[in-house]
Amino acid sequence: MRRIILPGALLVLLLTSSGASSAAYSVASLNGTCLWDSLFYPTSSGIQNNAGPAAVLAPLSFDGAGHLSFTYDINLNGTFSSTANVRGTYTVDATGRGTLSYNSPATGKDLVFDFRISPHGHVIRTIFETYGGQPATPRVGTGVCTFAE
């Protein structure tokens, strides 16, 4: 399974070692499975404020071409459940910043996460960006998806 994301990161290292400053990440830099661990704190604004915390564990599989699939386990304000066969898309810009998007089977809402690939490409770090097109997300979330710990 895992081809990890290292190709892009190695390229960055090569560029760095040759004195260049620009990076060369792309969607192809994410190709493999990482284990995503994210904790969400309830916000005090928006239509779902004080909705309680949530935690997610999910192995995310990236195909190197902008698509991802995963199964996730979630504890949503005290209630645990598992959801399989979720599909989404992702983007990566040349600096290693990207977005991860999927439609929640549970709510029908589109979720978007902002992420950055770590300097050595071993993890991506995520924060919640938008939820169902609402002006405020119901929670703020901080997560790490680990390819190689």
Partner: protein, 148 residues
């Protein structure tokens, strides 16, 4: 640890190069340091009871049994476990598992969901069940690290 034990399964998993994995109970054999942050929920019978953090040493025997020594700060009050706690765990072929123990001090049954990380150096956890209640009093995420 014998932290090599948990890594063995992962290396075999990676070495196959395919989608199938080879994790089992034997993949967890050794001691990891487990740190958890738990945030109170706003629903259920124990809603709004405050946050908690735990710091534990969990020792897996490779056969479905685990021993846990843990310190906890429960909504501001720190206590250290007087004696090791015994529990059980399961592991699926894909590295997903569960960890269950009963705290002898409180009588609470704590059920955690986990995944073994890609290289098998840690497990990532969250609260799955508490005393078989419909709603857990807190949601949590934790990491138990075998090697770093």
């Amino acid at each position: 640890m014998q932290s090599g034990a948990v890594i063995a399964g992962a290396i075999l998993w990676l070495g196959k190069g395919g989608a199938a994995s080879t994790f089992s109970l034997a993949s967890l054999n050794g001691t990891c340091v487990w740190q958890v942050l738990a945030i109170t929920t706003t629903s259920g019978v124990q809603a709004n009871t405050g946050p908690a953090t735990t710091l534990s040493e969990a020792t897996f025997d490779g056969a479905g049994h685990v021993t846990i020594e843990y310190d906890v700060n429960l909504d501001g009050t720190f206590t250290a476990t007087p004696a090791p706690i015994s529990g059980t765990y399961t592991v699926e072929a894909n590295g997903h598992g569960t960890l269950l123990y009963i705290n002898p001090s409180t009588g609470n049954t704590v059920d955690s969901d986990f995944f073994i990380t890609p290289l098998g150096k840690a497990i990532l956890t969250q609260t799955q069940g508490f005393n078989a209640q419909a709603v857990t009093p807190r949601v949590s995420n934790g990491t138990c690290i075998f090697s770093e």
